[in-house]
Amino acid sequence: MAAVMPAPAASRLLMSGNEAVSRAVWESGTKVCAGYPGTPATEMLEQLSTYPDMYTEWSVNEKVSLEVAIGASMMGSRSFSAMKHVGLNVASDALMTLTLTGVEGGLVIAVADDVGMSSSQNEQDSRHWGRFAHVPILEPADSQEAYDMTRYAYELSEEFQVPVILRLTSRICHVKGLVTVGERIERKTTGFKRNAERWVMVPGHAKRRIPLMLQREQELKRLSDRSPLNVIEPGTDRRVAFITSGPAYMHVRESFPDAPVLKLGLSYPWPLEKMAALAEMADTLVVVEETEPLLENELKAAGFAVHGKDFLPRIGELAPEVVKPAVERLLRKEAAPAPEQALGVLANAPPLFPRPPTLCASCPHMGIYYTLSQLKNLTIAGDIGCYTLGAGHPWNSLDSTICMGASMGVALGMDKGRGEADKNKKILAVIGDSTFMHMGMQGLLDITWNRGNVTVLLLDNGTVGMTGGQNTPANGRDIHGQQAPRIDFPKLIEALGVKKERIHIVDPYQLPVLFKTVRDEVKIDDVSVIIANRPCVLIEEFKPFKPYVVEEDKCTGCGNCVEVGCPAIHVTRREKVVKPSGKEVELAFTRIDSVACTGCGLCVQPCAPEAIVHFEPTMPRIVVKPV
């Protein structure tokens, strides 16, 4: 994205939480911002890259992005790192020592929890990092707060020389609300102060930093009790009082507008005195927190009688339709509902077919999964990206997905751990280009070094597809779309120990070649890497071809094209026929949606009667013209 003039100060703008955080990072005079794409965090770095006077980058993974922010902070500059919840697992190695060194320039880590799992392999509560790393956690409840708290986070970070975690959830990142913005401050970089005892964390130095860290935590505890971010709203309905934070606060206020509420903005360290004061205000005390019972357990340990996860769901969002009936049942002293009822699954929702996400028309991954679905005796370790959808219909061609880069190690472990029953199984790993560079390269090195027998499919579509097409070293463009060094996969893979003759580059649209290459390589007792290199259909490198149509009189209803899994192929009618063998089969006659089809030709190849041909438009392409 190109730099644009930011909106002037005092503008009131409709902003998502991600946009609001980005604006505040820029206004805070931040110099360096780094991150790795991941839902729901992606838009922060995307937005930041449009602001002037800052360095922004997509890093190859979250750990590197945090390390970049650490380096900038050491130089005395303000820095920022953004990631999704699982990203902080990767970056945590850096975080757990950063908390000892502390920061020089303010350092803010925005971590976005995918509560409700719209696009993640697990659900995590990133508030845990506060206690684990002894760092403060700020939790905004809407876009304006996301903006305000981000600005405050830099002050807090510098006052206590501590990295600050801004904990967001999907319902902050992707909700738009009105935000009044300010101006960018000019902040002078203080310069690097050489100090091995502070920055070189060898045991002798680290031992002296731990007490300082614990002392800092005590000071933050005192701050928490007097912070205006932790506020008691007294209310008038004294049946029940709530302790809550983040978007759950809004859901509580919506459901019980007059109840006393302790709203936590600085949720770690928690304000014990304010909690005690709130407990005095009602007979029943309820903690409403997404997703784990962190505060609830702390309160119980401190001797308070509180309710929380004994009747509220442990997973997913605590929307008003979940919180309100649950608390009302509690007040009526009814038994806790079954978990699915607690989650607000409604009896009156119409029963309908599911509409799971699927691969796009012309997606090069379709060729891969169609091929894998036609081969027998494979065990396939998958990875994180659009190509995880290969586990779904009609391909059903993934046997595992764990975390970024895991396909490599998991495949090696499958190979080494196999017993008699799996002796003849062919072990494969499927990984995308960005995931490979994020955390897959080390796994491949482990496979070659330890002489594993794995066939790796590296799906190089030149982008981070699932998060909307961000640039990567695979397409040779930086975050701004400017030309940057482009990684040479064959050379890299060879350098990681794969024999040159075991590295193949194939076009995933050429099914016969792809099929033969995979079939041949899985037979060889060695590590092979097959690089499939077609661009993602969402990026500029993709050029659509002429669409196809099904010639109705030629279609025999074999349904082979449906097995490709393209969303542009539709069944027009089904017919049951009895084959000479006596077996009844259902024929599916098809058509192609010529608006959606971009002519990759994947469906043409398995079509036995050659009924799929190029569409010659009978009408001109539709353009805007006066009527």
Binding site: L14, H174, M250, P257, F353, P357, A588, I622
Partner: protein, 202 residues
């Protein structure tokens, strides 16, 4: 919170659900309301379900519309409108593009697409005005006008004048030139007319 208006917009990734809701938000802001807009669209680019919640009024707290509380439903696809119809208040109105977008899981024979989703909505007691936004847009000369047709369809169900929404549509297309603006005015008017006609029993 009866002073809050809840609008639910639903459809499929790529149909323009989020853009339409954005324009509705701008209209509500222009009328001086506090606004919150939220989506569930994790993997919507991959043909999944998209719902966009818009709430506006004096002060909006939770951004999420609870089932049974939506004042109006704008459906970009027939079965999706049915899927979310229980979010409507009793007696509230649904404006539905009657397009049928059938996903691969149905084409594979694993699930069934309802024969008459609009009829099912009416059978559930939802006041439903349905129309063919794609044909209306194509007749006007560009399939991409479908989004504005949809906005025209909802224009008379809002707590403010249709002109406020039309002004936001015009503003969005202003830099594309007078011709495009005029096309969108026509599409908006056609959407309004189609919804009014569909809502009136013949």
């Amino acid at each position: 919170m009866s002073n809050i208006t809840n609008i639910l917009v639903c459809g499929i990734g790529g149909q323009g659900v989020m853009t339409a809701t954005e324009i509705l938000s701008e209209a509500a802001i222009a009328e001086g309301h506090d606004v919150k807009k939220t989506e569930v669209a994790g993997m919507s680019q991959r043909g999944g379900v998209v719902t966009s919640h818009l709430r506006f009024g004096k002060k909006v707290l939770s951004p999420q519309i609870a089932p049974g509380t939506a004042d109006v439903l704008l459906g970009f696809e027939a079965a999706e409108a049915l899927r979310w119809s229980h979010y409507l208040k009793p007696g509230a109105m649904a404006l539905v593009n009657d397009a049928r977008l059938v996903p691969p899981v149905v084409e594979l024979g694993l699930f069934k697409y309802p024969d008459d989703p609009i009829g099912d909505m009416r059978a559930r007691g939802v006041k439903t005005a349905s129309f063919d936004a794609a044909t209306i847009a194509r007749d006007l000369g560009d399939l991409r006008l479908g989004n504005t047709v949809m906005l025209g369809a909802i224009a008379d169900q809002l707590p403010f004048s249709a002109d406020v929404l039309l002004a936001c549509v015009v503003k969005r297309f202003a830099r594309k030139g007078e011709q495009v603006v005029e096309m969108n005015r026509k599409a908006f008017a056609a959407g309004r007319a189609a919804a009014a006609q569909a809502a009136t029993p013949a």
